[in-house]
């Protein structure tokens, strides 16, 4: 019988030392590489005549705006995933409720309405923070329940009413400001959402890598018990992650409501799954404690491009969902496998 295969791994020491950092850069750069591949694929499909209007300024602006919305939500969600709590499934209803409350209160003026909307979003986050962080409820089950509760509140208070900014207030300026959340463009190019996304990305990156909180989150996400035994207040750390996710979702809710010009329960539908997919393909592992916000934004780009191309091809929403689901499973599977072969998967 054959002996075990000989596979000497001749990696010089120095390279091994740097492999950690290098592989991190490759991982992050890799997701943007994939985004570029999607653009190339779109261009090829267009030149073959399969799709039209892909390589147009208008379409790219569309893509970037969609990516911005998803990127903002995903950047917040990344904190929850990074903390080792998979996902915040209350994101869609947080988005919807923030939008509804803001529109409802527009007659008090733009700023108070927006602040109230964000506050409601944060309130949902605070409940998640306490229940999951402190009472250690299962994050998936709890945030799912939370989203049903929120939906119940929306249905109860607003029945199935959709509420429109121009019905809530006569003040043209307020309406214009609200519409402008999505539509305002600097130099006619960079929209407010894109700007917000860039801000969130930089802030998120800074928090994760250059603050005490970030270091504590990394420890908590990698090994919660060890974090507690190192003097870290894990409950607080996890709670803040849920607050960040809720805040990001609330901002996303303002944008999507401004986009659709209507406050309605269905705003934000599907964003929980899209956001987690962006998060994991962006390199944040479900096991927690690993990944970067810059990678997550790259993940949002890939999802955005993919959605755009699929829509241009004419693939239906359900099929799109299925494809995204398949990709999610694939990425999670590959991730788990590569970690295991490195002998590092203890999750």
């Amino acid at each position: 019988m054959a002996t075990a295969e000989t596979k000497p791994i001749d990696v010089p020491d120095a390279r091994y030392l740097r492999s950690n950092r290098l592989s991190r850069i490759v991982n992050v750069a890799g997701i943007y590489g994939i985004a570029v591949l999607f653009i190339v694929a779109g261009a090829i499909l267009q030149s073959l005549g399969v799709i039209n209007n892909f390589m147009t300024t208008r379409n790219f602006l569309n893509i970037i705006d969609a990516v911005a919305l998803l990127g903002i939500v995903a950047a917040g969600m990344a904190f929850v995933t990074y903390s080792g709590h998979y996902a915040d499934l209350s994101v869609p209803t947080t988005m919807a409720l923030t939008g509804i409350v803001t529109v409802e209160l527009l007659h008090y003026g733009f700023v108070p309405a927006v602040l109230a909307g964000l506050a409601v979003g944060l309130l949902i986050g605070a409940v998640n923070a306490v229940v999951v962080g402190r009472f250690r409820a299962n994050p998936i089950i709890w945030t799912l329940a939370m989203s049903y509760v929120t939906m119940g509140v929306i249905r109860l208070v607003w029945v199935n009413r959709q509420i429109y900014p121009d019905v809530q207030t006569d003040n043209i300026r307020t309406i214009a400001l609200f519409d402008g959340i999505f539509r305002l463009r600097l130099f006619n190019v960079i929209s407010l959402p894109v700007l917000l996304m860039i801000l969130m990305m930089l802030a998120g990156h800074f928090v994760l890598t250059h603050t005490v909180y970030g270091a504590q989150l990394k420890l908590t996400g990698s090994a919660r018990r060890t974090a507690t035994f190192s003097g870290v207040n894990a409950e607080r750390v996890i709670g803040i992650a849920f607050l960040i996710a809720a805040f990001a979702a609330a901002v996303g809710g303002l944008i999507i409501t401004s986009l659709s010009r209507v406050g309605a329960w269905y705003n934000g539908t599907g964003y929980e799954f899209r956001a987690v997919t962006a998060v994991v393909i962006g390199g944040v592992t479900l096991a927690g404690g690993r990944g970067t916000i810059i990678g997550v934004i790259g993940g949002a780009f890939v999802i955005g491009l993919m959605n755009n191309i699929m829509t241009l091809i004419g693939i239906g929403t359900f099929s799109q969902d299925m494809i995204r689901g398949a990709i999610f499973i694939l990425v999670v599977g590959i991730n788990a496998k590569s970690l295991r072969s490195l002998g590092r998967d203890d999750a």
Binding site: S230, G231, G343, R344
Partner: protein, 501 residues
């Protein structure tokens, strides 16, 4: 031993395994016969665990040849290894936490009735295996609710459930009390009589002499020698392990003991310990001795703010500690090295540097910015001082050998310069040389005017290091001994409640 049987139950021929940057096992020959207990010894990082993981099917890229009962086999996955009768008890416990004892034990081969799990058969099988290892617990308890030493026995039961013909135990006694060690030895004895080939890894040489027939010594990934245990002395084994002779005796450093630093009055946590009084002084190493279950770790957890006391007071340098949460205590220089390095001590997925710095995160700050470069020299000094290997701070913790993980754990707590350091089994799983290094570090800490509370089951360690030893039994301090009174026998008797005159 059954050496008249011509073929070895296990024969590894020139096997090797390298990791990027290290050759963990280098052309090792190793054979074990049925009915033999074969000890495998060597320093931390010598390659013992790696050699055995190879056998357990953890690697698909090892080199060399493995024969089981004379037949060449490829052990590239855990299931292949299991199929060939290899059972492995890992150095680091591998029990899944929230599920029950029974499900853990019978995990690989759940009895079924149709498509359903046969609950009754499951419980019966678990009970049977638990009785072999002498565990009397409710099989439906979740693992997270039992103690570490019970979990270790569950692990043994679990492996026995796969009816192995080759059984590997990687430091099985490091979390066990003396009684449990005796029980384990009885189990090993009966398994040997039943003709199993047993590999036994330990840093504790008395155990090797007590239980093993032959011993193989490894050093730097190579085999140094294989001998009959009876033909060797302890010194000879140590000499082979480290390639030089090691001073193993403790030379007590003279310390000046100062005022009371940590005073505890009438402290209780119902159900765990009751009415505990304790005074630990500046410059003192205060030993705490007791059987497992005596409440030592529970006490330690309250002393550092991980759990709240139900009654009593604690004072540091005369000031009452009235805050809650470990951060409060840590900020005042009170630190705790846990006995459970894998799940409470280290984050195995993070780098060595992140682990060492994890106890001082809030201090690594420049303005708003966290900057771990501020801790770089601390890490370098500790790596050097404790001779941690590998020395590269960015290597993932899981890639360190058990003993080196333990050194990193100590480094983590030394990093903050604690004023009161509570050590819970600080030398678990470290080799003889590393033990000396750790002991010197502890003495140095105390010598510099800090306080050390040393909880240990390692009696020579207590006798050698402690200035005073408190004996804990069933949640109470029952006796105090000065170091002149301390001997291994007197401690053991006192811990068991058989007072010597």
């Amino acid at each position: 031993m059954n050496q008249d049987s011509p073929v070895a139950a296990l024969e590894m021929k020139e096997v090797g395994k390298r990791f990027p940057g290290t050759i963990a096992v280098d052309a090792v020959d190793f054979e074990v016969y049925a009915g033999e207990v074969h000890a495998l010894v060597g320093e931390n990082g010598a390659g013992k665990s790696t050699l055995m993981k190879m056998l357990a099917g953890s690697f698909n890229d090892y080199t060399g040849e493995i024969l089981i009962n004379g037949e060449a086999v490829e052990l590239h996955t855990p299931s292949m290894a299991m199929k060939h009768g290899v059972g492995m008890i890992y150095q680091e416990l591998s029990l899944a936490n929230p599920i029950s004892i029974a499900e853990n034990i019978v995990a690989g081969h759940l009895p079924r009735r149709g498509v359903l799990v046969d609950r009754a058969a499951l419980a019966a099988e678990a009970k049977r295996l638990m009785s072999i290892v002498g565990l009397d617990l409710d099989p439906d308890l979740p693992i997270e609710e039992i103690s570490q030493h019970e979990a270790q026995l569950v692990e043994v039961a679990k492996v026995l459930g796969t009816s192995p013909s080759i059984l590997v135990m990687d430091e099985p006694t490091s979390a066990l009390s003396r009684d449990e060690v005796e029980r384990l030895f009885a189990i090993i004895d009966s398994l040997r009589k039943r003709g199993l080939a047993i590999v036994y890894i330990s840093h504790h040489l008395p155990e090797v002499f007590r239980i093993a027939d032959r011993v193989t010594v490894m050093r730097d990934g190579r085999r140094v020698a294989t001998r009959d245990v009876a033909s060797l002395t302890r010194e000879e084994i140590v000499q082979m392990m480290v390639g030089r002779s090691v001073k193993e005796f403790y030379s007590r450093a003279e310390r000046t003991i100062g005022a009371v630093r940590y005073r505890v009055k009438d402290l209780s946590r119902w159900g765990f310990f009751h009415h505990v009084d304790l005074e630990a002084h500046v410059g003192e190493i205060l030993g705490v001795c007791g059987l497992s279950g005596a409440g030592r770790s529970e006490l330690a957890r309250v002393l550092v703010g991980l759990d709240a006391a139900d009654e009593g007071t604690m004072e540091l340098d005369g000031k009452v500690l009235n805050g809650s949460g470990m951060a409060y205590y840590l900020a005042r220089g009170i630190a705790y090295l846990t006995e459970d390095r894998k799940s409470e001590g280290l984050a195995l997925r993070l780098s060595m540097e992140d682990n060492i710095l994890s106890s001082i995160v809030p201090r690594l700050r420049r303005g708003l910015r966290y900057d771990k470069r501020l801790g770089r020299t601390t890490v370098q000094d500790l790596v050097k001082g404790l001779s941690i290997y590998p020395t590269d701070p960015t290597v993932t913790m899981a890639n360190f050998s058990g003993g080196n993980q333990q050194k990193v754990l100590l480094a983590k707590w030394l990093a903050g310069g604690p004023r009161v350091l509570i050590l819970d089994e600080p030398t678990r799983g470290v080799d003889i040389g590393a033990k000396v290094i750790i002991h010197e570090a502890v003495e140095k800490l105390a010598g510099a005017g800090n306080t050390v509370i040393l909880i240990s089951s390692d009696l020579p360690e207590l006798v050698g290091l402690a200035d005073r030893v408190l004996i804990m039994r069933q949640g109470r301090f029952v006796r105090e001994m000065s170091y002149e009174q301390c001997t291994e026998e007197s401690l053991l008797l006192a811990a068991n409640g058989e007072e010597s005159a």
